[in-house]
Subunit: 332 residues, 2 copies
């Protein structure tokens, strides 16, 4: 864990700007897409930030690269370690490869096959574990102690949050170019790294864009935590939206969400699959379940939105064929 | 038919630049995407111009908008007519709607449901016909005579070709930004409007990028025409790649292809479906069969490519769910 993370430091504007500068030569500036058909469904303008088109198929490349590039050279040379159901794994793996250093990734054995294969193909050394019986934290701690690796946390790390914030900086510029000054900004929320990063970026650059986290049914810890004012946790452990099935809000991220975000939204798995179908049909995008919850809320819960426009982050696209086929088979 | 088209005029650099200027405020500058996994399959750098992310889900918006915006105001006010299996239909329909004029579209009754529905939803007046018994040219000619509409041809119109050429202008800039000066540029080819437009744009701006048309098995009229030096036609009429099933090369486009393009490539339907699966998995893009033939050639016929990089145009994404499910079900 980095000294910054141990100190519980929230990334400030300078740290966010520095991360964006390090990312600039390598990150994909993902497009902000739209379709008149989606506008019709939602009854307002719908703008979709296609982070599924990011390197490694999700926004996690941003945080992974920001964190690895921020390490002191000697620590970085020893290699990095991450635990992840798959998207953070790929982001850290590619960031490590781009820096020429080792990445050791602890992944659950039941992660989607496409994520396991892709992480390995990016050159990472994989350690597969059983979610129920082998806590990833213990496995990770042992490897770190033995091999001098640096842990890159999936969300409770200021440099990771600063990297995810670059999504928000782009979004602010793109929304302005579209003439959108007021909008609900819906963000798929697991541990809250992307949500916090985007909220921090927009607070500085586009105060009329209000971030609201979106979670799947059964994993609405952040939504309940925001509603009650105190961290809540989930009891369920597995579900459709594998990318965002975290047990509780992050220690670093939750205070940011409390300070900057509007009320959260909860969507059903069925609506998430319908949103994946709508993105297929109208945007020509492949979005994974955990990346589609925000679009699901925008399309199918228009009554809880507050502005004339809604901006949606489609945070990832790493979905197995069989799951995508389920979304296609579901008639809207 | 416009006076320019009747005169058989090939768009020159000035006409192409003017079309690009008219398009600039409305067109999507589609991203040039890549994946290390695709590079591995092809044994070289693979860059994919994602025109499936264009408005209406295909490059056809470019040509449709360029042509409608080039009409004299009085002719435009009377409305436009197009015949199309679906992508040109949508491009013209949206272009007409953006200009506030009528669009009458003659479409085959067996066009993909998603294309028929989308064209109607874009405000066009649809006239459905039977490909075998009711020639679209006759239906169109009657409506034009009765209603004073202007025909927007799918490819044999200089303004349409000039609009498609804007894809090539973007590509030249994007390839340069990627450091690619020499490449095979593979373009899905039906009537040759996109292929000719891109070839004209690159001839002026990036001579090291060599355009090569790609067609599906059974519809390789352009490939054979280029090989023999004289226009050849197809006997088959229906197939997987509905967007590019034209009977013969265009009168305006073929001479351009003869002058500027390298040898064409022919791909099997099976490889096209495999390429759609690869784009799903590695690029998070939905590509329709007719839009995926170039990627199929890049991935599965590397032996016939001549440069260290290959640029592929993914020309459209308007595919029915059942067809996409077939691609997903096919193991690579």
């Amino acid at each position: 864990m980095s000294a910054l993370a141990e100190a519980g430091i929230t990334p400030d504007a300078a740290m966010i700007a520095a991360a964006a500068r390090r990312l600039a030569p390598v990150v994909r500036r993902t497009p902000l897409l739209s379709s008149p058909f989606l506008d019709d469904i939602a009854g307002r303008r719908v703008l979709v930030k296609a982070e599924c088109l990011q390197h490694t198929g999700s926004f996690k490349f941003r945080g992974g690269f920001a964190a690895v590039s921020a390490l002191p050279a000697d620590a970085r040379a020893q290699g990095v370690l991450a635990w992840s159901s798959g998207n953070h794994a790929q982001g850290v793996a590619l960031a490590a490869r781009m820096h020429g250093v080792r990445a050791v990734i602890v992944m659950p054995r039941d992660a989607p096959r496409t994520k396991i294969d892709a992480t390995r193909a990016l050159g990472a050394e994989l350690v597969l574990h059983d979610r129920a019986t082998e806590p990833r934290e213990e496995i990770g701690a042992r490897l770190i102690a033995e091999q001098g690796l640096t842990l890159i946390r999936p969300f409770d790390d200021p440099q990771v949050v600063a990297g995810q914030a670059s999504t928000g900086l782009e979004l602010a510029q793109q929304a302005e170019a579209e003439g959108v000054a007021r909008a609900d900004v819906l963000v798929p929320c697991g541990g809250g790294g992307l949500t916090a990063g985007v909220a921090l970026a927009l607070a500085d650059t586009a105060p009329g864009l209000r971030v609201r986290p979106v979670e799947p049914e059964g994993f609405d810890d952040t939504v309940r935590s925001l509603a009650t004012g105190a961290p809540q946790s989930n009891t369920a452990r597995t579900g459709l939206c594998d990318a965002i099935l975290t047990p509780a809000p992050g220690a670093l991220t939750f205070p940011v969400l409390q300070r900057l975000c509007g009320p959260g939204l909860v969507v059903s798995d069925r609506d998430t699959l319908r949103a994946m179908g709508a993105a297929f049909e109208r945007l020509k995008l492949v979005i994974e379940p955990g990346g589609a919850v925000a679009l699901a809320a925008a399309l199918f819960q228009p009554q809880v939105l507050t502005a004339d426009a809604v901006i949606v982050i489609a945070s990832g696209g790493n979905v197995d064929r069989a799951v995508f086929a389920r979304a296609l088979a579901l008639e809207d």
